[in-house]
Symmetry: C2
Subunit: 357 residues, 2 copies
């Protein structure tokens, strides 16, 4: 069975880590006799925008919709195109139009990676952030009034639906059921954001009734970020709205040492549309072109793609290869964000060779 | 000159730390010959709500508006009253009706306090969060549709005004001008929250032109929370919207060891209305009634109140007393959140006696 994968590298370090993600996937495909077919697309980046006045061609949906997955780098180069234009013109469209309503982001402290947290060792931090990925605070409804005057105001509506909340909660509860600790934490802010968030809490309470084997708690987002730092060992599966999930899935990986290694899966669980796999880090214009970007976020995202296809053994093998290389912590191999002097290539080489081993 | 102070202890540990805040203020007043007159109010707590069906009496505004300040504990007891009702019925009303549009929250790693961050020492973390306190994501505009059906949706509008943004930015830039590093960081999320946050960025850029002596940068809130953990030494003054400021001012203090010591000032800079001083921590029902709450957030908030009145020497003296007691880190004195076995009273006693010394 051939898996057709659309490849969109995007901007900045997206262009540098994508080839390494592909190399690692090809190594795994070889070893496990998988048939992966990659098709490269040169849209979905800021240079494309400068040339065409838009991030994607008119028929992007048609071009992409029949792929089995999208393997994605990172988008954004604010000096060329404002971020809200480049992101709403690409990644955020994919998430919405392909109804990738789950954004799944593992967060794990690995051997060999120095955590910024004191006295935390591998195993102490190991949880998933499940982020709602299609509605909520990321809305296109709103606008400006009294423009250009002292009275100028801007309004943006957060929109949440029972349909949208329930389906992400269902996914999160089912994930929690499969985890040894069976614990779900909900991110809220119902004391301050007093219309949408009490509704979120209501849906969590209702859904929890269907999962008596999962223990549930909730924290307001402010103290929840504090608890990520103070008590990262408390968490197993954390579910949040689009914005809260976004914040927690950068903060979580930071607590495990670097966001350079964090992967993510934007999943359409029904399989009606392709799911999208991308590192959590962005295009990082400040280090782009230097060959020092950490390729692990991209490679690990590739592993999540294989797991999504059902190749659990191949996915685990890739993650084990990553872990083995990190555990060695060879300063000549690992990248700067990990405290080494290595490059994208040295780190990728080590992982690819561990995959082949 | 007499300073008239309204005292509202609120719920949970608010009731336990308030007496200690008052003791410390009285000690400072004695030593510096200040004339502070306290008036206690028994509204603004969940028991009041249970008895009266509302958090505050009808004429609360009239009763409080001529005080020079409000000294506040903490509100909320979700088992008695849902948080959004107790908070919107008290604290959030004060902030709005008394136009306390600045929420100022210092964040400092102190000697003797164990940071959850590895290898950070006192001096490494020392910044202010300046939070917009009257508009933004905390809005009362919105509602529910298709109620009780599968199609149910909730909508809540974020509302930001040029007036509201500019005045908090002005305060933040002026604060940055007074700091040795003269650095201002803006919290944004203009790549995802693509209507209100690009406007926020625009106002920051416009305002920055008036303060050429302040260096300015900005981060999206997701990576900013990561940077609080990875690089807390980067920050000097951080300005954010109501929600982003809320998150950062819990996360920041967590990075310095405990939110139990963090103070805050809700300021109406024009002095038209009383400003309000309160610890950052909440009412903490889980530890309420045990006498183990850390009183430092409340005491330090008292010091901020004295500074607001113009008594810089007295305020510094109180903060020095806090620092001296923390630096000793006597396990019999300091509270649990600081790693000790002390109580609210032992810690408060030590600080009060240091103030008298
Ligand atoms: C209690 C809550 C409404 C409040 C807020 O979100 O403003 C608190 O978290 C704070 O930071 O003062
Ligand atoms: C680039 C940005 C729009 C995006 C988001 O906020 O969703 C990113 O931060 C992410 O987490 O995938």
């Amino acid at each position: 069975m051939t898996h057709r994968i659309a490849v969109i590298a995007g901007d900045g370090i997206g262009q540098e880590v994508m080839p390494e993600g592909l190399r690692a996937l090809e190594a795994a495909a070889n070893r496990f006799k998988l048939d992966l077919a990659f098709t490269h697309f040169d849209f979905g980046n800021c240079d494309y925008y400068l040339a065409h006045g838009k991030m994607l061609p008119e028929d992007w949906f048609e071009q992409l919709k029949d792929f089995d997955a999208i393997f994605f780098g990172a988008v954004g180069w604010p000096e060329k195109v404002p971020d809200h234009i480049s992101l709403w013109g690409s990644l955020l469209q994919f998430r919405r139009r392909f109804d990738q309503y789950i954004n799944l982001r593992p967060c794990r402290l690995m051997a060999g990676v120095k955590s910024p947290l004191a006295n935390r060792k591998p195993g102490d931090v190991d949880f998933y952030v499940v982020r709602e990925n299609t509605e909520g605070e990321y809305s296109s409804v709103g606008g400006k009034m009294y423009e250009g005057t002292e009275r100028e105001i801007v309004i943006q509506e957060t929109v949440m639906s029972r349909f949208g909340i329930d389906r992400v909660l269902k996914y999160a509860f089912e994930l929690a059921q499969k985890r040894p600790r069976r614990k779900l934490t909900s991110a809220t802010k119902s004391n301050g954001i007093a219309i949408t968030m009490p509704y979120w809490d209501e849906r969590v309470d209702a859904m929890a009734k269907n999962y008596p084997d999962v223990s549930t708690d909730k924290y307001h987002i402010d103290i929840l970020t504090a608890n990520f730092v103070l008590h990262p060992d408390w968490f197993d599966v954390v579910v949040g709205s689009n914005l809260f999930g976004d914040i927690l899935s950068d903060l979580g990986p930071a607590c495990t040492g670097t966001i350079g290694i964090a992967p993510s899966a934007n999943i359409n669980p029904e399989g009606t549309f392709p799911s999208l796999f991308e590192p959590v880090h962005g295009s990082a214009p400040d280090i782009a072109g230097k060959g020092v970007a950490n390729p692990i976020g991209q490679i690990w995202s590739g592993a999540m793609m294989l797991e999504h296809f059902g190749y659990k053994a191949a996915a685990d093998h890739m993650v084990n290869a990553i872990e083995a290389v990190l555990a060695q912590a060879n300063p000549l191999v690992i990248t700067r964000d990990l405290g080494g002097q290595g490059t994208t290539l040295t780190l990728s080489d080590a992982i690819v060779s561990a995959i082949c081993r």
